[in-house]
């Protein structure tokens, strides 16, 4: 059974995040069949990233408005996604620990408006690199962990709290033990902050030991990596793994293939949420809707083309 026949996976990195829908393909149903004989139901979830609560100043004068708009948008989805995954930089750091704590509380206030109650977080460097993750853990619990949901194994990895772009030997050994109990066909979703491959090292878009993580996951046929950090959508297939970056909810970075400098794209007052929006993906038939936060309009097929190019569809 190859990856595509095992699991039909629709994915997208979304403006405001990403909504991903898993539909166990026909051939995979026996694997997922419950003891009572029922097949697990398809489900969807949303990825949100880089809300940077507390950030102020250029290029984005909107503060948390995009985040709040994203919450409203997700709450309006029907059916409601099962989960929301936050892939880091929930807050913008502050030298003042009490101010940073206040930003974490503010993040939680806004996130608590989500009707989706199963929410999971991993830190970005702005959340945890200055204090080794102490404040993050006080507010959100462990910075790496795993759980199962309807036949999919989810793993949250912390590749920021040491201050360096790395996961570290201890966490990689934990990952090795964690995934050892699964068959090679088990779908695995890893969510983390930085890319686990060298996307653009000069812009610090890499994880030093990302290859070691991917080597642990290499035996598995169906691996999806969701990350943020780069403030733009990006899709790449490497081996059996599909890597998807979500856009941010604060401002966008340019495409490193065409931009000389890592400089935030300017704020467009005519389109304040430009590059920020939600891409909703559903299956049977596959349909992708890009929803710009301000216009509330469907924008189209670009996402479909990207996913086809990336071999996801």
């Amino acid at each position: 059974m190859d990856r595509r026949s095992f699991l039909k996976f629709s994915a997208a990195s979304l403006g405001a995040g990403a909504l991903l829908q898993f539909t166990p393909a026909q051939a995979a149903i026996p694997f997922f069949t419950r003891r009572n004989g029922e097949a697990p139901s398809p489900f969807s979830f949303v990825q949100l990233s880089d809300t940077h609560v507390g950030f102020s100043g250029p290029p984005d004068p909107l503060g948390t408005k995009a985040f709040e708009r994203a919450v409203d948008t997700i709450n309006a989805l029907d059916p409601l996604p099962d989960l929301v995954l936050f892939t880091g930089d929930l807050t913008h750091d502050s030298e003042d620990a009490s101010e940073h704590a206040a930003r974490m509380k503010r993040f939680k206030e806004i996130a608590s408006r989500l009707r989706v109650k199963k929410r999971f977080h991993v830190p970005g460097e702005h959340d945890s690199a200055l204090d080794g993750g102490t404040l993050f853990k006080e507010h959100f619990g462990e910075s790496h962990y795993a759980f199962d949901h309807k036949g999919v194994h989810f793993v949250g990895l912390d590749n920021v709290s040491s201050g360096k772009p790395m996961v570290g030997k201890e966490q990689i050994a934990w990952l090795q033990r964690d995934v050892a109990r699964f068959s090679k066909t088990t779908p695995i979703v890893v969510f983390t902050h930085r890319p686990l491959f060298d996307l653009q090292p000069e812009w610090e878009w890499f994880t030093t030991d990302g290859d070691d993580v991917m080597n642990v996951l290499a035996p598995f046929d169906n691996v999806t990596i969701l990350y943020g950090h780069i403030h733009r959508a990006h899709h790449r297939t490497i081996g059996n793994a599909q890597h998807h970056a979500a856009r941010s909810l604060i401002f966008a970075f340019p495409d490193p293939a065409t931009a000389a400098e890592k400089k935030a794209l300017p704020f467009d007052k005519e389109h304040p949420f430009k590059n920020l929006g939600i891409r909703e993906v559903s299956s049977s038939p596959i349909a992708i809707d890009d929803i710009e936060l301000t216009a509330r309009e469907i924008s189209g097929t670009e996402g479909v083309q990207q996913l086809r190019k990336g071999g996801v569809l």
């Binding site: 200055l130 201050g163 360096k164 610090e204 890499f206 890592k262």
Partner: protein, 93 residues
């Protein structure tokens, strides 16, 4: 018979929030050089993958640049609000 050893030149890069000093270093292609990172306020990193430089805190590495060109190096140990702009340049001639 006399033996000749090529001694590596040591280049010291001082790092503090949010700058490297010097910010530009010229190296000779094919000649070994030791790059020493000295973090003077808090831990910083110095990373240039094409040159094989991956340092953290107070550390050093000896490299022999094989390719002429201009190579950016960045701080890859998060150090605060100006971290994203903390970079320097190696020019290999």
């Amino acid at each position: 018979m006399k033996k000749f050893f090529m001694l590596a030149v040591v280049v010291i890069i001082n790092a503090k929030r949010f700058e490297f000093s010097p910010a530009e270093v010229h190296l000779k292609k094919g000649e070994p050089v030791t790059i020493r990172l000295v973090s003077t306020d808090r831990p910083h990193g110095l990373s240039s993958k094409p040159l094989g430089i991956e340092l953290d805190g107070n550390d050093e590495v000896t490299i022999t640049p094989q390719t002429a060109g201009t190579f950016k190096a960045i701080c890859d140990h998060y150090c605060g609000s100006g971290h994203g702009g903390m970079k320097m340049t190696f020019i290999v001639e």
